[in-house]
C-alpha cells in the first residue's frame, strides 16, 4: 500500500507518462487515484506526480524506454510487446498462448521481472511492476465456433508472436493501425481482429463485429519503468514511499485486469448487470466459449511456432532463459 505518511522535507516533483489513452480504466481507476491523488495526499503534498498519457504526449508507445532513459519522464509505462523492438527479451513475458489464465500470467510476470531487468538496466531503466491489460481475445464480424474456424480469414494482428499464432492457424495476418481497425471491420477490410476484451468494447467494436471469443490468447502485459539514475538519487524515505505506491499500483492493476477481462466480454454480449467498468454494447455480441480443442491447439502452436519464432528474433540466449524461468511455470520447454 501507499504508506500513510511521509516525513517533511524538500518537495519532489515526479513526471510520469503511463497508459496509451486518458480514457482507459487502467488510467482513470488506478493511475489517477493512486499516483496523482493518494501520493500527494499521504505525502502531505511533498510528492507531486505530473501524470499524463501517451496520447497527450504525442507518443506511440514504442519509444517509452528511450523516454525514461533520457530522463524526460521519471516513471513510464507501456505494453511490453510494443517495447520489444528496443529490448527483444520483453516479448518473452507475454508470448501468444503462454498463459491460459491470469494466475499463470502473474506468476510468469513475477519470475521474469528480475530477468528482464538485467537487459533493461544496461539502458538506464528498471522495470518495477508488470501488469496486465484485459485478456487479448478474437473479435469477428462473422460467426466462428473455434480457433480452427479462423482458417482463411483476414485477421488484424500486432506484435510478432500474435502474427506467428495467426499464421499457424492458417489465417492471414493484416497490419492496420489501431484507429483504422474499426472501419476496417465495418467494411470487411479484415474479418477479425485481436485486442483486449475491454479495449475492443471501448473502441466500439461490438458495433461492427458479431462474435467474441473468451479464450485469452495473450495478456498485453505492460510494465512501469523508472529511470535508474533518478531512482537512486531519491531521498531514501521518498524512495520507500514510492516503492509502496508502486506495489499498490501493481495490486490494483492485477485486480483490474482480472475484473476487466470478464467485464469486457459481459459488456460486449449485453449482460447489463455484469457490465460495470466498460460501457454496454448497444448491439449484443455472441460469446464463443473456448473449447478443450482450442486450448490444445494454442499450446501446440506455442511450442511448434511461436516459441521458435521468438527465439529466432531474440537469440539463442533467450531460449535458455525461457527454459530456466518460464518453462517450469508454463509446462512447455523450448526445443522439447
Amino acid at each position: 500500500q501507499v504508506p500513510a505518511s511521509l516525513p517533511a522535507g524538500p518537495k519532489v516533483s515526479v513526471v510520469a507518462v503511463t497508459q496509451p489513452l486518458p480514457t482507459q480504466p487502467q488510467y482513470t481507476r488506478v493511475d489517477i487515484p493512486v499516483l496523482r491523488e493518494e501520493v500527494a495526499q499521504r505525502s502531505g503534498g511533498r510528492i507531486e506526480v505530473q501524470l499524463s498519457t501517451h496520447a497527450e504526449r504525442n507518443l506511440s508507445g514504442t519509444e517509452l524506454v528511450r523516454l525514461v532513459r533520457s530522463g524526460q519522464a521519471d516513471i513510464g509505462a507501456s505494453t511490453l510487446s510494443t517495447l520489444s523492438g528496443d529490448v527483444p527479451i520483453l516479448d518473452m513475458v507475454d508470448l501468444a498462448g503462454l498463459a491460459p489464465e491470469i494466475g499463470a500470467a502473474k506468476r510468469i510476470a513475477e519470475a521474469m521481472l528480475p530477468v528482464v531487468n538485467r537487459d533493461l538496466e544496461r539502458f538506464g531503466a528498471r522495470l518495477m511492476v508488470i501488469y496486465p491489460f484485459p485478456a487479448q481475445v478474437v473479435f469477428c464480424r462473422t460467426p466462428f465456433a473455434s480457433l480452427a474456424d479462423l482458417r482463411g480469414r483476414k485477421v488484424r494482428t500486432f506484435g510478432n508472436s500474435l502474427v506467428d499464432l495467426v499464421t499457424a492457424l492458417g489465417a492471414q495476418p493484416v497490419s492496420i493501425g489501431f484507429p483504422e481497425v474499426y472501419s476496417a471491420l465495418e467494411r470487411g477490410v479484415v474479418d477479425c481482429a485481436i485486442t483486449g476484451s475491454g479495449s475492443g468494447v471501448a473502441a466500439r467494436w461490438p458495433e461492427v463485429t458479431t462474435h467474441i471469443s473468451n479464450l485469452p490468447v495473450a495478456w498485453a502485459l505492460a510494465g512501469y519503468m523508472v529511470n535508474i539514475a533518478w531512482w537512486n538519487r531519491l531521498d531514501p524515505q521518498v524512495r520507500a514511499f514510492m516503492e509502496g505506491a508502486l506495489r499498490e499500483i501493481s495490486n490494483r492493476q492485477w485486480e483490474l485486469g482480472a475484473a476487466a477481462t470478464r467485464d469486457g466480454i459481459d459488456c460486449a454480449i449485453g449482460k447489463a448487470d455484469a457490465c460495470r467498468i466498460h460501457s454496454l454494447a448497444a448491439r449484443p455480441m455472441t460469446e464463443v466459449p473456448a473449447t478443450e480443442a482450442d486450448r490444445t491447439a494454442l499450446r501446440e502452436i506455442l511450442e511448434k511456432t511461436v516459441l521458435p519464432g521468438f527465439v529466432r528474433r531474440c537469440g539463442a540466449r533467450c531460449g535458455e532463459v525461457y527454459n530456466q524461468t518460464i518453462a517450469p511455470i508454463a509446462g512447455i520447454r523450448f526445443g522439447g
Binding site: 514504442t62 524506454v65 528511450r66 510487446s81 510494443t82 520489444s84 523492438g85 528496443d86 529490448v87 527483444p88 539502458f123 482463411g152 483476414k154 500486432f158 506484435g159 510478432n160 502474427v163 492471414q172 495476418p173 493484416v174 497490419s175 492496420i176 493501425g177 477490410v189 528474433r313
Partner: protein
C-alpha cells in the same frame, strides 16, 4: 564558390528526385498490398512500417532541394517592402537561424541513430527491419540539408561583402513572382500539349 553551390544544388536535386519517385513506389507498394490482400490472400504484413520509412526518407531527402528552390515557407510581408540592402541582410539572418534549427535537427537525428545502434533496435513488423537503416537514411537527408544551408550562407555572405546585395536577394529571396508562376504555367502547358 558559385561552382560549389551549383554542384551541391545538383546533388540536392538528384536526392529530391529519388524522394519523389519513392512516393510513386510507395503508391504502387500499397496498391499491390490492397490487391494481394483482397484477391490473392497475401499481404506484406509490414506495409504500415515500410511506407512510414518511405515518408521519412522522402521528407528528409528533399529538404535541401526545396531550400535551393527557395520554397521553404517564410512570412515575408514586411521583408519584401524593405530597401534592398536591409532585405539582403535579413535574408542572410533568416538563413542562419534556419541553419541553427537544422543543425539541431541533424544532431538530434544522429543521436537517435546512435541510440538505435546501442539498442540494436528493430521494428515490430514481420520484417523486423533494423531501425538504423531507415533512421540512417533519414538522418543523411537532414545532414545534406545542413550542407546546403552552409554553402548558401557562404555564397550569400560573400555576395554581401562584395557589395552585391541583389545577388543575395536572388539567391535567398522567396520565390513569389516569376519562378512559381513559370512552374505552374509549365505544368499547365505540359497538360495542354497534345
Amino acid at each position: 564558390m558559385r561552382g560549389l553551390r551549383r554542384g551541391v544544388a545538383r546533388l540536392a536535386a538528384g536526392m529530391a528526385y529519388v524522394a519523389g519517385w519513392n512516393y510513386l513506389a510507395c503508391a504502387l507498394f500499397i496498391t499491390f498490398d490492397i490487391l494481394g490482400r483482397s484477391f490473392l490472400g497475401i499481404s506484406s504484413s509490414a506495409t504500415v512500417e515500410v511506407t512510414g520509412y518511405m515518408l521519412a526518407g522522402g521528407i528528409a531527402w528533399a529538404l535541401a532541394h526545396t531550400l535551393a528552390q527557395r520554397a521553404h515557407i517564410r512570412v515575408d510581408v514586411w521583408v519584401n517592402r524593405l530597401p534592398l540592402r536591409l532585405r539582403a541582410v535579413l535574408h542572410l539572418l533568416s538563413l542562419l537561424l534556419l541553419g541553427a534549427f537544422a543543425a539541431f535537427c541533424a544532431w538530434a537525428a544522429w543521436s537517435l541513430v546512435d541510440e538505435s545502434i546501442l539498442f540494436d533496435a528493430h521494428d515490430n513488423s514481420a520484417l523486423r527491419v533494423p531501425l538504423v537503416l531507415p533512421q540512417g537514411i533519414w538522418a543523411f537527408g537532414i545532414f545534406a540539408f545542413c550542407a546546403m544551408i552552409v554553402v548558401l550562407a557562404l555564397d550569400g555572405a560573400l555576395a554581401l561583402l562584395n557589395g552585391r546585395p541583389e545577388e543575395l536577394d536572388r539567391l535567398l529571396g522567396s520565390r513569389t513572382i516569376d519562378d512559381e508562376a513559370a512552374e505552374a504555367l509549365e505544368a499547365v502547358e505540359m497538360a495542354r500539349k497534345p
